[in-house]
Amino acid sequence: MNDRNAAFAGYFAARSDAMRGTAYLLCHDWHRAEDLVQTTFAKLYVAWSRIDRHESLDAYTRQTLVRTFVSELRRGWFRRERVSESTPDTAGVGRGSAEDRLVLLEALAKVPPRQRAVLVLRYWEDLSVEDTARALRCSTGTVKSQAARGLRTLRGLITPQQGEKVR
């Protein structure tokens, strides 16, 4: 394995799990998350020699991942992921249980994709409003409004009782 491949493989080994986690939050499907990560890293490999500032690789990779996700959505709304019509039965669910987490992830999957991308970048990746706007190629105002709208949507999808449990 030459230097380029070794460096790329090292970076992949270090960061692919984190990127896959972000991808999973975006699409709520591990298989599709791995597809997104593979596509993202293939693009990164092609651009590898052009990226001088390797310290900013994470930002570049994250941006590619999110843009790939958004681009896939533009393929047509009927190819977007389907989500179940009903939330799981939560009767008797204790605080912090696996069912609670399922409620949150399923509710997140029902949030419109762009709002979801903003929520994931802002509150999972902890990106600033400016960095989120850069990754999504939109204005900071749009990020703020999408974040507020996304949170509102998420609250609407999680009933008060479920919300208490999710907390």
Partner: protein, 314 residues
């Protein structure tokens, strides 16, 4: 749930999730190398195409500038001219960049002979599903133009900017994307176009939307156009089959109270399996613009347009 609670809940959810085993770095390197090879192949094809153009231009221009009729000019393989006539002063000619092959025949771009599943994942040197340039990309632009030229009088397809409402990105766009392989390495593609529509004397903005899924798509085997509507899950409503000149068209109308991207969607499946989805909405939702007072097309017009051969793409 506030921002901090969401952060905490996301963290808890991901910590407790059960991800699959780590992905293989070796496979990632292989996928990256394959993507780079495809990119190089695509560039090689583009360079070869330019060389062909250069040779052709040279074949036309050199004789003309030499004052002759063109007779006697021979372009050899590799772009070298054997025209014995003198070249005008200052004329440097057209230089072909493609070197001759050892056999003297024109150099050819190697066809994609990828064999593994990763190698053949995206066609024609693409690094992802979307074609951003070339004939495939242009097809969806043509679809958009065809749609714009099909409007009733007083309506125009225009580009607009969202004025709030949470919409980000352009309101008028096209996309050409590879869908799947079928048969013996045949490619099925999807061509999508959407545009705002305005009417003379009205501040309202409506929306037209079209997607063509070519032969080999996953709805090819449906026996009724309304079965194809099962895939259109984001418009919720009822579908009925209407007859348009002896052809069956599925007509989906959004149910009241349901938030759908479109108000109406006409679906037609051609005999070869190509499926055309043509939708309209009096409002372009989430863009902050007011809605048109009515639909752009009547029900009959939309159903007639969806079967038009100009949207029957390969």
């Amino acid at each position: 749930m506030n921002e901090d609670e969401l952060k905490s809940a996301l963290h808890d959810a991901m910590v407790a999730s059960s991800p699959p085993p780590p992905m293989s770095p070796e496979a990632a390197v292989a996928a990256g190398q394959a993507a780079r090879r495809r990119r190089k192949t695509a560039w090689g094809g583009a360079v070869a195409g330019l060389a062909v153009v250069a040779i052709t231009v040279g074949a036309v221009l050199v004789p003309q500038l030499a004052g002759g009729s063109g007779e006697g000019a021979v372009i050899e393989a590799g772009g070298r001219s054997s025209d014995p006539r003198p070249v005008p002063p200052g004329w440097s000619g057209v230089t072909a960049t493609t070197p001759p092959s050892p056999t003297g025949s024109p150099a050819q771009t190697a066809p994609s002979t990828a064999s593994g599943p990763t190698e053949r994942r995206w066609p024609d040197g693409q690094t992802d599903r979307t074609a951003t340039s070339g004939p495939r990309a242009e097809k969806s632009v043509r679809v958009l133009n065809e749609l714009g030229s099909s409007l009733p009088p007083t309506f125009q397809a225009v580009d607009k900017q969202a004025s709030g409402g949470g919409w980000s990105g352009p309101m008028r766009y096209t996309q050409s994307q590879f869908a799947t392989y079928y048969g013996r390495d045949e490619q099925s593609w999807e061509y999508l176009a959407t545009t705002p529509v305005v009417r003379d004397g009205s501040p309202g903005v409506g929306r037209l939307w079209i997607q063509v899924a070519t032969k080999g798509n996953r709805m090819s085997s449906t026996t009724s156009p309304c079965q194809a509507s099962d895939a259109a899950w984001s418009i919720k409503g009822t579908c009925e089959v209407v007859d348009v000149g002896g052809k069956e068209v599925g007509y989906l109308t959004a149910a009241r109270g349901e938030e759908s991207d479109l108000d109406e969607l006409a679906i037609y499946r051609h005999d070869d399996g190509t499926v055309v989805y043509l939708g309209q909405s009096a409002a372009y939702r989430n863009t902050g613009h007011p809605a048109l007072s009515g639909q752009v097309f009547t029900r009959e017009q939309l159903a007639a347009l969806v079967i038009d051969e100009k949207f029957h793409l390969g």
